[in-house]
């Protein structure tokens, strides 16, 4: 037990705490600080501390307000995140209410469509957006056929980013809000109505305020996710609209400006942490109104005047992500796609080329497997300690990676491991550890839930009946916990395949996974190949995510 705990804390120290200190120190000194190297000897330690003390300056942090581009990036990121959050909530609220409290037709279909964007990484959604609204995009053609001139939306604009992100992140607002609406006891609404309020007034004065905290929490969740997003912004955002995640990446990969990258990474981390904290406290305070879900058909609105418009709206809204993916799919099978609504011809050449020339698929699978093993050992170990050993501090630490955006983590890791004695940059090992770290909170959560369901007296019963602790774990705990763990593992694997922000910063050329390949193809203008690879990613993700959900239910979603 103590060995496990030490091992877990070692992992977090090496790959989370030290890197965070690294970006702090680099932002404060403007230079690389070799933290692992500092601990090799007392002299090195004193020398490093001395150097840091000498160079301490606030000038790099001040660049946040003095350099116009940084200031704009911060402002734009905050505004964009707020806009996406608000739009997501407003646009999906009717659907959430419809799913939770009305008798919508074919609910299973609407529910499935609502989940669909979860398999869609934002960079693939961006690809689809370009296909639809580019100069020769099919949506543009429809728009022009209807009398419009030029393009309806400039694909290199903040509007493009806004729309793409809203469509991609809608499940993160829709799903919690649906669950939230389901939990509000219909008795309260009936009470409102019995006191004389007609349906809309009841909704405004009873349902909405009760749902308020849940809605606010969903909005904040989307806010944090948007703030951290890298894929869509890097593809669609124009130079004139800098964003924190993109600028941080450019400072690091383009200009090797350690100080600038560190400063922006620091800002990203602090902002994300703050809003995540806000989300958690809103969520906690909202628990007062949550009474256990009422089984049965009480409180379900069946009035067609309500359900039909909601149904039509839901279909309309949820079909957009499908349209994005359909565009990508069509292009992946296309020979060329010019001035028509559909491709000129169809072929499997793109797939053939993608599958034969690059080891990217092989790389993705290996990296995914590696991340799976690491996060399983650390995550399951931590979960066992949290649940059985009641180590609540580990619970907090285990959830920290959620607050660090991918770009910030990538930068932090590069700054930490760029020089001997621990030079890990450019290795697959570092990438795997980064992937594992980012998914640790989710692994921790699903595994802890699985372990918690094995009540202590089941273990004691086994012991009493003659099982040694080892036999007990093998025959009682493991069979009950396994489905949840497997689902968690599958999800780690899936996320690695979809991941782009840490990948672009840390992936070595030899180990480029599928997501990096898509990115490269897009940069080189090889759109057809990019789409083929993107569809392969989506196919793998869709199948695995479905399997995970079968194994562990709703908990497996995100």
């Amino acid at each position: 037990m103590p060995v496990l705990r030490a091992f877990i804390y070692l992992f977090f120290t090496l790959f989370l705490f030290i890197p965070l200190v690294a970006i702090l120190l680099t932002a404060l000194t403007g230079d690389l600080v070799n933290i692992p190297g500092a601990f090799t000897s007392i002299e090195r330690l004193t020398a490093t501390v001395g150097r840091v003390a000498e160079k301490l300056t606030a000038e790099h942090l001040l660049e946040l307000v003095t350099v116009q581009r940084y200031l704009d990036a911060t402002r734009n990121s905050l505004l964009l995140s707020a806009a996406v959050a608000l739009l997501c909530v407003i646009l999906t609220l009717p659907i959430a209410y419809g799913l939770a409290r009305t008798a919508l037709p074919v609910k299973w279909l609407i529910g499935g469509l609502a989940l669909f964007p979860l398999i869609l990484p934002s960079f693939i959604a961006a690809d689809g957006f370009m296909l639809m609204f580019g100069r020769v995009g099919w949506a543009t053609q429809i728009y022009q056929a209807l009398g419009g001139s030029g393009v309806p939306i400039d694909i290199r604009s903040w509007v493009a980013v806004l729309i793409t992100q809203t469509l991609t992140f809608s499940p993160f607002a829709l799903l919690p809000m649906t669950a939230n609406f389901k939990l509000i006891d219909p008795v309260l609404e009936e009470a409102g109505q019995s006191l004389g309020a007609h349906r809309l007034l009841t909704w405004l004065t009873v349902t909405a305020p009760l749902a308020g905290p849940g809605i606010a929490a969903s909005a904040l969740l989307v806010f944090v996710i948007t703030l951290s997003d890298f894929g869509a912004p890097v593809i669609l955002s124009p130079r004139q609209f800098p964003l924190l995640s993109v600028e941080a990446y450019r400072e690091m990969s383009g200009y090797f400006n350690w100080a600038g990258a560190a400063t922006l990474a620091l800002v990203l981390a602090i902002l994300a942490s703050f809003f995540l904290y806000l989300q958690r406290s809103v969520l906690r305070r909202g628990q007062y109104a949550m009474i256990a879900p009422v089984a049965g058909r009480r409180g379900i609105v069946t009035d067609r005047k309500v359900t039909m418009p909601l149904f039509a709206y839901a279909l309309a809204f949820l079909s957009f992500p499908i349209a994005l993916v359909a565009s990508v799919a069509l292009q992946s099978f296309a020979t060329t796609w010019g001035w028509r609504l559909l491709p000129d011809g169809y072929t499997l050449e793109n797939y053939a080329e993608v599958l034969s020339t690059s080891p990217a698929i092989y790389n993705s699978l290996l990296l995914g497997l590696g991340a799976l093993v690491v996060s399983l050992v650390i995550g399951a170990g931590a979960a066992y300690l949290v649940v059985r050993g009641r180590m609540t501090s580990l619970d907090f630490v285990g959830n920290l990676p959620l607050a660090i955006p991918g770009v910030a983590l990538g930068i932090a890791l590069i700054l930490t491991f760029n020089s001997p004695p621990v030079k890990l940059t450019g290795t697959a090992f570092l990438l795997i550890c980064a992937y594992a770290l980012r998914r640790l909170p989710h692994m921790l959560r699903t595994t802890a839930a699985a372990i918690a369901q094995v009540k202590r007296d089941l273990e004691e019963a086994a012991l009493n009946l003659g099982a040694t602790p080892g036999l007990m774990i093998w025959t009682v705990v493991a069979p009950l916990v396994l489905p949840g763990i497997i689902a968690g593992c599958i999800l780690v694997f899936v996320t690695v395949i979809k991941e782009i922000s840490v990948t672009v910063l840390l992936a070595p050329a030899r180990w480029g996974p599928m997501s990096l390949e898509v990115f490269r193809h897009l940069l080189r203008g090889e759109f057809y190949l990019a789409s083929a690879m993107a569809m392969l990613i989506l196919a793998i993700v869709a199948v695995l995510q479905f399997a995970a959900q079968r194994l562990a239910g709703e908990r497996a979603l995100f």
Binding site: D457, L458, A461, L463, N464, L465, L471, T475, V476, A478
Partner: protein, 377 residues
């Protein structure tokens, strides 16, 4: 059941973060005896039981099963069968495999590598491997003993609470333990089931003559099932004796009030003789009893509601402990009627059989308390 001590607890103390859950608990359980640990929540009864089972390590004290000191033995090496309040049936195994679990662990320990693997497979999932014939026979016998023959292939989730309870019992018994430990096994059942299961458990225990320690907070259960009862409070045993002893001769107000109802008044001893004593309560009312504790004057005067006679005639009745009063409340409980009678400054709870005459509220009544039924504690 013989008089030989089979389980011996000596000076058991268990401390959690400075809180004394069990405080110098000592008692013996005879071979074949049904022994109850009774008390309110937090009195230490479950802690004591878990120490016997090996789930808790005592801070001090010794536990003997048979003649063996078992303190150092982990739970899987102790000859106990434990029945949990929540039944703790393994949800991923059928009833049969649940009951066979204990037999499988023994097979596992005894066999060679191949045998170990096959037993392991069977223990992990009911869908693989097979149970050998002798195990099946013992499982079926256990199922028959608890009255669940034929339900072997069901999963726990497909059983009712009462059935799960029986499976838990069968599982603990099939390994033929030397001691059966039961931790409030009937708390999660509704009243009728509880009463029914009490009989089932006691019958099985009698038939097998298995030494049993039974923890409960329900005094009816303890009084109805046990050969001897230990009443516990705040980690200590307040009184130990047969159900009749602890009920009719409680040694402290706590025990008197915990078992059955009680009227309780504070009084001072007035007379203390060989077979006569009395105490003064309230405004100087003298209550006669048959004995008073030595060495102190302040006593609790305790009278059980069923010991008080209530009569409506206004004749002056002879004898000590006769009081005139008025009925202020009446609750009809079916077999008995519970009255509240105000006699001067005293308020008395009186239980009377409902097959006699039932007195209405507001009537003037005479209440009589036989001195031998008055407890001065």
């Amino acid at each position: 059941m013989d008089n030989q001590a089979f389980v011996r607890i000596q000076g058991l103390t268990k401390r959690y973060d400075g809180v004394l859950a069990a405080d110098n608990v000592s008692f013996e359980v005879r071979r074949g005896e049904f022994f109850a640990l009774l008390g309110p929540s937090g009195c230490g009864k479950t802690t004591t039981l878990r120490c016997v089972a090996g789930f808790e390590v005592p801070s001090t004290g010794q536990i003997f099963i048979g003649e063996r000191l078992v303190n150092a033995l982990p739970p899987y090496e102790r000859p106990c069968g434990f029945v949990f309040q929540s039944y703790a049936l393994f949800p991923h195994l059928t009833v049969r495999d649940n009951i066979a679990y204990g037999l499988n662990t023994r097979r596992f320990r005894r066999g060679g590598l191949v045998s170990k693997l096959s037993v392991l497979a069977r223990m992990t999932s009911s869908r693989i491997a097979r149970l050998p014939a002798d195990v099946v026979e013992r499982v079926e016998r256990a199922l028959g003993l608890v009255g669940l023959g034929g339900l072997g292939f069901r999963y726990p989730s497909q059983l009712s609470a009462g059935q799960q309870q029986r499976v838990a019992l069968a599982r603990a018994l099939v390994i033929e333990p030397e001691v059966l430990l039961m931790d409030e096994p009937l708390s999660n059942l509704d009243l009728k089931l509880r009463v029914e299961m009490r009989d089932v458990i006691r019958q099985i225990q009698n038939a097998l003559s298995i030494t049993t320690i039974y923890v409960t907070h329900d005094q009816e259960e303890a009084l109805g099932m046990a050969d001897r009862v230990a009443v516990m409070r705040d980690g200590r045993i307040e009184q130990l004796g047969t159900p009749i002893e602890v009920y009719s001769q409680p040694q402290s107000p706590f025990v008197a009030e915990f078992l059955g109802g009680a009227n309780r008044f504070l009084g001072r001893v007035l007379r203390r003789d060989a077979s006569y004593a009395s105490a003064v309560i309230g405004d100087g009312i003298e209550i006669a009893a048959t004995a008073a504790p030595e060495g102190r004057e302040d006593v609790s005067v305790i009278v059980r509601p069923e010991s008080i006679r209530i009569a409506t005639d206004s004749r002056e009745l002879p004898g000590p402990n006769v009081l005139r009063g008025r009925v202020t409340k009446r609750t009809f409980l079916g077999p008995i009627v519970r009255y509240e009678v105000t006699a001067g400054p005293l308020s008395l709870k009186v239980d009377s059989g409902s097959d006699g005459s039932i007195v209405s509220v507001g009537s003037e009544v005479t209440v009589t308390i036989p001195p031998e039924r008055v407890l001065l504690l």
